[in-house]
């Protein structure tokens, strides 16, 4: 069994190979490229299963302590910097999720991207993307994690801006790259602090209890080192996982092809941030009141805030994007309240159903575009939900799968999201200890619960607008379900969205209660000894409340929107009042705020500086200097002609020419001369040694 673990380094290799082969040789053939990419990820998936199997078979010890393979990479003085691989329960869980979701997305994309002129390139990019994510998952240290993190950043830039003919796509790519870069810098700073304090970046070594306590006791700038480092690392996660206030790139990332959105939102990019926080959780938690609180606060803000924006958006993908932001907020709440398992459980389930929802929306858009071709209407936006309606009859498979994903997201028993979201909220409630208004946990719980209601509402709205009711445009009237390669991945994901929740039903539930994931992946930070990893029993009351809220919101959403007519005003306006709705529709004006507070002043400053340069100060000075200089030049020209040219330049030139002529004879091109010099030098060295010992 142990030998199976040694396959781990191979897991990321195959997508990389696929990338290299596609880029170098296979890019002429679309079919071959797609086949290579799918084969690459499928191979990785198979190897991942072997590794997961080994982890399963390895029992509790392996799942907690993990297997690791340090590879000496950079000798730094007396220590060696290792760049290694590690597998434990959490990694194994991620290894289950990433390759499956990715390969389904790949298969989906092989149909979705058909007809694109850069088809092969797309598969090269996504292969590299998956390579980055898989490396990140199996890395045993922060540096390797950071490297793959950056690879993913690059890929996200390339993929979001994949249709770079569109100005908006180009800008979105840039925005994603630059926004996440803020987080990356923070993360890197955190890594530097961490390395300077501990001399290692390997997770296991950082989480030795002694090291942790040393970190907690040391101070940087008057702050406990662990808190500062955790906050910096969390900064990285905020960028990558699109937490408030660095969330602005994520909705714009919808400009990329839909499979890319699915990748970014489910399997790879945003999971990476949550993964990072989960991985580093003991460091966050070692000082009781510190970094973790902020994780929870940011998470709570993001969860509520993302959800509320979601209800006022009309673009089908944008709704999902804000939903992702909000769900990521839930994960952060879970992690921030110390509920390691709750966070990662939601991460895993969310990956599946969010990938499903995105692929489903892609399927809908595809169908709408098909309809647009059919009726020859190229002005109506195929992504606008107001233009859809009644698609359930035309796209049954998509509808079923989408419904599964929606129910999972809303949190209806027994879909996956119910268990995972409920666990987070239960955690928060437990930590808050009831209606305790002074506790962060309570507010987080409140934000989560309200967010859950809003989530249900906008998902209901979406279902009502897209699938139910009557077609509102010609596009939706002629929409046609796409082919097998697109629908079957949806069904598979739907299946997972249905069953995945049973992986961790709390133990006090009769018959199906097992807490399996808790034993498998939830104990990896046990040895650090700073986290309370006890599994919570199911709080029946809370679960009932959550289900009730979810159902109310969902059904309410459907009821409000299923009868929506074309051109009719959004009923939400009446419900919320126009100002609030406008605020939500414009995403709380965060982008505008950034524009006004950061970007505009910078441009203004640049203008001012330019004015200063051109009109007021610099140019006049320059002109003055220029005129004076011209006069001086005339004077000095004479001087030049007489003194410099005659004596200086030509003289120097002649001197160096003469010197060069003489010196070039030292380079004779004859090895024997050089050898003679070597002999002479050896002789003098020996002479110095023999006769000049005091020298």
């Amino acid at each position: 069994m142990e030998q199976l673990f040694s396959l781990t380094p191979l897991i990321p290799v195959f997508p990389l190979l696929a990338f290299a082969i596609i880029v170098l040789w296979a890019n002429k053939s679309n079919k071959l490229s797609a086949g290579l990419a799918i084969a690459g990820i499928a191979t990785s998936a198979v190897i991942s299963w072997l590794v997961i199997f080994a982890t399963l078979a390895g029992g509790h010890h392996v799942q907690v302590e993990g297997w690791s393979l340090p590879v000496p990479w950079l000798p730094t003085g007396t220590t060696v910097f290792n760049l290694g691989f590690a597998v434990d329960g959490f990694t194994a869980a991620m290894l289950f999720m990433v390759p499956i979701v990715s390969s389904l997305i790949f298969i989906y994309a092989s149909e979705y991207m058909e007809g694109d002129p850069r088809y092969a390139r797309f598969f090269a990019y996504v292969s590299l993307f998956v390579f980055g994510m898989l490396t990140l998952v199996v890395a045993d240290n922060l540096l390797l994690l950071f490297i793959s993190w950056e690879i993913m950043g690059l890929c996200s830039y390339l993929l979001i801006g994949f249709w770079f003919e569109k100005d908006s796509a180009k800008k979105a790519g840039l925005k994603a790259f630059l926004t996440t870069r803020i987080g990356d810098v923070l993360l890197f700073a955190g890594m530097l602090f961490l390395y300077s304090k501990t001399g290692t970046l390997t997770f296991r070594q950082i989480f030795e209890p002694e090291v942790l306590h040393e970190l907690a006791n040391a101070t940087i700038w008057g702050m406990p080192a662990s808190v500062l480092i955790s906050l910096l690392i969390f900064g990285g996660a905020v960028g990558k996982s699109a937490q408030f206030p660095l969330h602005v790139w994520l909705p714009d990332a919808m400009e990329g092809p839909t499979p890319v959105s699915a990748m970014i939102h489910a399997a790879t990019m945003v999971s990476a941030g949550v993964y990072l926080v989960a991985r580093m959780l003991p460091l966050f938690a070692v000082v009781p009141v510190g970094a973790l609180q902020w994780v929870a606060i940011i998470g709570a803000i993001t969860a509520f805030f993302g959800a509320t924006i979601g209800i006022a958006q009309n673009d089908i993908k944008r709704v999902l994007a804000y939903s992702t932001i909000s769900q990521l907020g839930y994960m952060m709440i879970g992690l921030g309240l110390g509920g390691f398992l709750a966070g990662i459980f939601h991460l895993l389930t969310h990956s599946f159903f969010k990938a499903l929802l995105f692929l489903g929306s892609g399927s809908v858009i595809h169908a709408m575009e098909h309809g647009a071709h059919h009726v020859g209407d190229h002005h109506t936006d195929p992504q606008d939900m107001m233009n859809m309606g009644g698609l359930a009859k035309r796209m049954q498979k998509t509808y079923i799968a989408y419904m599964a994903g929606t129910l999972a997201l809303v949190g209806i028993v027994p879909f996956a999201g119910f268990f995972s979201k409920d666990e987070i909220l239960a955690d928060a409630w437990h930590k808050a200890g009831g209606f305790n208004f002074g506790s962060v946990a309570f507010w987080a719980w409140l934000a989560g619960t309200l967010g859950a209601f809003v989530t249900a509402l906008y998902m209901g709205r979406q279902i009502g607008l897209v699938f139910l009711g009557k077609p509102r445009t010609g596009l939706s009237e002629h929409a046609v379900e796409p082919g097998k390669r697109m629908t079957y991945p949806l069904l598979v994901l739907g299946f997972f969205a249905l069953i995945l929740g049973f992986a961790n039903v709390p133990e006090n539930v009769p018959l199906i209660g097992n807490g399996w994931l808790h034993h498998f992946a939830g104990m990896i930070h046990e040895s650090a000894g700073v986290l309370d990893l006890e599994a919570l029993p199911l709080n029946w009351g809370l679960a009932a409340v959550a289900t009730l809220i979810g159902l109310t919101g969902f059904l309410g959403g459907i009821a409000l929107y299923r009868g929506q007519q074309a051109g009719q005003e959004d009923p939400m306006v009446k419900l919320l009042g126009r100002p609030l709705f406008t605020l939500l529709k414009n995403k709380y004006y965060v982008d505008e705020f950034y524009f006004a507070v950061i970007i505009n002043p910078v441009i203004k400053l640049a203008d001012l500086a330019a004015k200063f340069d051109y009109d007021w100060v610099i140019n006049p000075i320059v002109n003055f200097v220029g005129n004076t200089g011209r006069w001086l030049a005339d004077v000095s020209a004479e001087f030049d002609r007489v003194v410099v040219d005659g004596l200086g330049v030509l003289g120097t030139a002649r001197f160096f020419k003469w010197m060069g002529k003489e010196l070039r004879y030292t380079q004779t091109g004859q090895a024997q001369n050089y050898l003679l010099v070597i002999a002479l030098v050896s002789l003098s060295l020996v002479g110095v040694y023999l006769f000049g010992v005091g020298f």
Partner: protein, 104 residues
């Protein structure tokens, strides 16, 4: 056990080395230069084997390195002579002073 002191071997090796060096330094003909190089390699071999024999008589590390040196010398001679013949064919000379198109 043996009647020959180590210093004799070292002296002979040094003398052979210097002779080889002198040949390498002064000869015009590329083949003669190669001969000088072979002499230097041989002097190294004397040292390898002699020190092996005198300092660690029951191991053969020095002899093994001498074998490696001989093998490398064989490879070197083959390649060097091939180069010399190719040069000769190209420029009708084997005078190392004339083969200096790499200078300046």
């Amino acid at each position: 056990m043996t009647a020959i002191p180590l210093s004799w071997w070292v002296s002979v090796a040094t003398a052979l080395f210097v002779i080889g060096l002198y040949a390498t330094l002064t000869r015009k003909n590329a083949i003669a230069v190669l001969i000088g190089l072979e002499l230097m390699l041989n002097s190294a071999n004397i040292n390898f084997v002699a020190f092996n024999r005198y300092t660690t008589p029951n191991q053969v590390g020095g002899q093994i390195f001498a074998v490696f040196v001989i093998a490398i010398a064989a490879a070197e001679a083959a390649v060097a002579l091939a180069i010399i013949i190719a040069t000769y064919r190209r420029s009708a000379t084997v005078d190392v002073e004339d083969i200096d198109s790499m200078k300046f």
